[in-house]
């Protein structure tokens, strides 16, 4: 079947203002942390060019700060000086050469200031001095002169984008940023012409849009990104969103619909909704907006696969689909859909770890499944090895699968040996936790890639590097993983103690009062807590860290912690386990060494990470062999490091 028959809507062109978008697939604006010093660099050009090359219809650039006070992190793009123009021009040319349309996001965060380059707290401005909860910011209300200056800075930035050859600008009024702060009566407490009535609260946006049109006229598409619902007590509901869009419709060429607000933990989950949200979960809201408006709409939020996007457009929920993580994870998704190869698409699993997770840590964007993402300058093409070799990979977890697949793609003859019945390693357990079933997609995707790279897979085979080398393999990659780690425990009684991951392997689940001890802050501790609580156990989650799920990306963490709260899971923080007797578990407080005792316990469950199955002695034994260790058998970390280890090891052969 042709793309036209399979995806009749997705691959039909669409007009926004003066631009014709070749298809309905949109790479929505997302901060990559690739730029340094606020300007476009080679890494960002290569990152976006790759998505354009593989057929993305519309690319919306990551936010560009319009004013010095818009620096909400230390690594955003800035458009407040004409010196930025050549950089944007490079992007416009790089994307335009493949037929993609490029828009830019014009941005002022108002009070949503996360961090700064020198670590000091910058002065944050907002409609009024109403504190921001998530980052603990007390903003300063803007003077009228200040408002005017920022309005003009939006116009000046639009002019620069126009000069650079960018075809449209999108004002970020979503997620509680400055324009939303003016719209929200809980944040805007002004009593001048910018506050009070809706007509006054929308004035800021009117002035911004009018100033932009004054500069660029109809030569550019002008759009607005807006949360259809900020989904928080302190945020705006759908009524204000509808009123705003109706009011501004005549000034706009399109609207881009999302949900959530940056201002609170719960609201911010929707900025990048994790895997516990279903595909295209905002369709209903978008549908009702669309029936009220004649404005073209882009809908974004967990639209992962071309058939899902096709359905959103067919059903009339939106005109175009943001498919952002789908394209972070697989830049070639549009091309694959177009050539009817949906099975070949590496679907995003909504783990949030390496995309928005990296953003929050200030490091360049990537993807746990596809470490080449964000590293286009290094790995745009896997290339062919000069000499084709016989390569053995021992261990079929994510590290081994990625290594085998990349080595094969580079022209080697690869066999993957797995001791167990099936591939996937610890991802097999991860997918059994509540709301994490999609994590299994990691295995599905890698299996498909192995198949296509023609890796020979041998399961239920115990092999050693010595034997494989004797058999004629020229390189051996060892990826045998980790076993659960048990911390030193003083046991003075009969309290049953289990490993969390062992429970997932099908043993009967403990009931009664279960204490889970978690040193990792990863998905296992909180996941098992949720699982057991849902199965009716009374759960105490004792974490070694400062809060539960400490190493999870915050949207994943906060939506999970909220569910644990609903389930009545009791949380203890700063806990270091000491021991257990028949019915109590004993902890030290890690801050002050004060004992903490949990009584009336029926079961202790440990989630303390892993220890490598390959020992230093093994390493010495293999010293003369062409062996490389990757993943957890080298050092237990997460799936992200495992997959990247696999890529690097295979690239070195």
């Amino acid at each position: 079947m042709s793309a036209q028959e399979l995806f009749p809507n997705l691959f039909s062109p669409f007009r926004i203002g003066p631009c014709t978008i070749p298809n309905r697939i949109v790479f929505t604006g997302h901060d990559t942390c690739l730029p340094e010093d606020g300007i476009v660099n080679d890494a960002l050009v290569a990152y976006l060019e790759k998505r354009a090359r593989h057929g993305t219809g519309l690319i919306v650039l990551q936010v560009s700060g319009v004013h010095e006070s818009a620096r909400y992190t230390s690594h955003l793009l800035m458009a407040n000086d004409d010196a930025c123009i050549p950089g944007y021009r490079r992007l416009a040319e790089a994307c335009g050469q493949h037929g993609s349309v490029l828009f830019a996001q014009l941005f002022h965060p108002g009070r949503e200031i996360m961090e700064s380059s020198d670590g000091l707290r910058p002065v944050a401005y907002s409609a009024s001095g109403v504190p921001q909860e998530r980052f603990g910011v007390m903003p300063r209300g803007l003077s009228r002169a200040g408002i005017h200056e920022i309005v003009e800075s939006f116009a000046a930035a639009a002019r620069r984008m126009c000069l650079a050859g960018i075809q449209g600008v999108e004002i970020l009024a979503s997620h509680g940023y400055l324009p939303a702060q003016f719209l929200n009566p809980q944040v805007n407490r002004r009593d001048d012409e910018y506050g009070g009535s809706f007509a006054n609260r929308v004035r800021f946006l009117e002035e911004v849009l009018d100033a932009i049109r004054r500069e660029v006229g109809d030569r550019m598409a002008v759009g607005l990104r807006l949360s259809c619902d900020e989904r928080d007590e302190q945020g705006m509901g759908q009524d204000i969103a509808i009123e705003t869009l109706r009011h501004l419709e005549s000034r706009l060429d399109y609207a881009s619909v999302v949900a959530g607000t940056s201002a609170t933990l719960g609201g911010s989950v929707h900025i990048v909704p994790p895997m516990s949200y279903e595909s295209a979960y905002l369709s209903k809201e978008s549908h009702s907006l669309r029936s009220d408006l004649s404005l073209p709409l882009i809908l974004t939020g967990r639209i992962n696969q071309p058939h899902e996007a096709e359905e959103v457009i067919r059903s009339g929920a939106a005109d175009l689909c943001g498919m952002t993580r789908a394209l972070i994870c697989d830049p070639a998704m549009p091309a694959k859909a177009r050539r009817n190869d949906a099975d070949g698409i590496r679907a995003c699993i909504g783990c949030n770890q390496a995309c928005i997770g990296h953003f929050h840590r200030g490091i360049p964007i990537s993807c746990i499944q596809y470490p080449e993402s964000g590293r286009e300058l290094l790995y745009d093409d896997l290339g062919r090895a000069e000499i084709s070799r016989r390569v053995a990979v021992i261990g079929g977890g994510p590290a081994g699968m990625k290594a085998a697949m990349v080595a094969a793609a580079r022209g080697h003859e690869v066999t993957l040996f797995e001791a167990g019945r099936r591939l996937g390693g610890q991802a097999n357990q991860a997918q059994l936790l509540p709301g994490r079933s999609e994590f299994g997609g990691l295995i599905t995707n890698l299996m498909e890639e192995l198949k296509r790279a023609e890796v020979e897979v041998a399961t239920q085979r115990h092999v050693t590097p010595q034997a494989l080398v004797a058999e004629g393999f020229e390189r051996v990659i060892v990826a045998t993983g980790a076993r659960p780690y048990t911390p030193p425990l003083e046991l003075l009684g009969e309290l049953p103690v289990s490993q969390a991951v062992a429970l997932l392997d099908g043993a009967s689940l403990p009931g009664g009062h279960v204490v889970i001890y978690d040193t990792q802050g990863d998905w296992v501790g909180v996941g098992v807590a949720e699982l057991l609580a849902r199965e009716g156990a009374r759960v105490t989650l004792a974490v070694n860290g400062l809060h539960p799920g400490e190493s999870l990306q915050s949207y994943v963490r906060d939506s999970t912690v909220a569910r644990l709260h609903d389930l009545g899971v009791r949380v203890m923080t700063y806990a270091r386990v000491f021991g257990a007797d028949d019915d109590s578990v004993y902890f030290y407080h890690t801050g002050g060494a004060e004992p903490m005792v949990v009584e009336g316990v029926d079961h202790l469950v440990l989630s303390c990470g892993g220890e490598p199955v390959v020992s230093p002695e093994d390493e010495d034994r293999w010293a003369t062999l062409p062996v490389t260790l990757v993943g957890d058998c080298l050092a237990p970390r997460t799936a992200e490091e495992a997959v990247y280890d696999g890529l690097k090891a295979a690239m070195a052969i």
């Binding site: 021991g579 109590s584 004992p595």
Partner: protein, 250 residues
Amino acid sequence: MKILVAVKRVIDYNVKIRVKPDHSDVDLTNVKMAMNPFCEIAVEEAVRLKEKGVATEVVAVTVGPKAAQEQLRTALALGADRAIHVESDERVESLGAAKALAKLVEEEQPGLVILGKQAIDTDNNQTGQMLAALTGLPQGTFASEVAVDGDKVQVTREIDGGLQTVELSLPAIVTTDLRLNEPRYAKLPDIMKAKKKPLDVKSPADLGVEMATRTKLLKVEPPAERQGGIKVGSVDELVDKLKNEAKVIS
């Protein structure tokens, strides 16, 4: 030699005392409780005597509500060998406690009984002395040093203006002052082991003692707020204010 140590559950000394709105008593709801600090010193002294080989067994005792078993467990974690809980939900007065302890002294026949000199809740400073009177044993109160020597114990007492050393023949009663020792903290291994040590629960009736109180609590007042100070300009002004405002000299 066996040592009997009495401990009391009181409001943790780190916690500010609040009075109930109707002034009927101190407010104990959701307040952190702990072992009376002078009792901690008593336990420590007993445990040290055992560690030195002077004592062979340390028995901790409390008279009080069910929850006071927490303090017995603390004593066990600090090194006591076993514990006896005389459970009473009534308000415990010094005399009631002393009577219960006297019965236990009769049953247990300790060589030494160590108590705190007073409990920081009511600051009575009575139980040790009453116990000595009821049992007829010699007493060394406010101890800052305790040295057992054969069938005698030398107790250095903190008294106004200095120290006094008395020698008592054993068995004897000692109450502890602040400088006797610095109590150790309970460590987790010991807290765990403490749970396995024996803890006997008795009622006052088992001991044949009457816990009914002989005093009545009329009213509890928090200390008056301190007034801010003032600066006086001269000695004359100071004398004048002391005479006429503070009325402390005439």
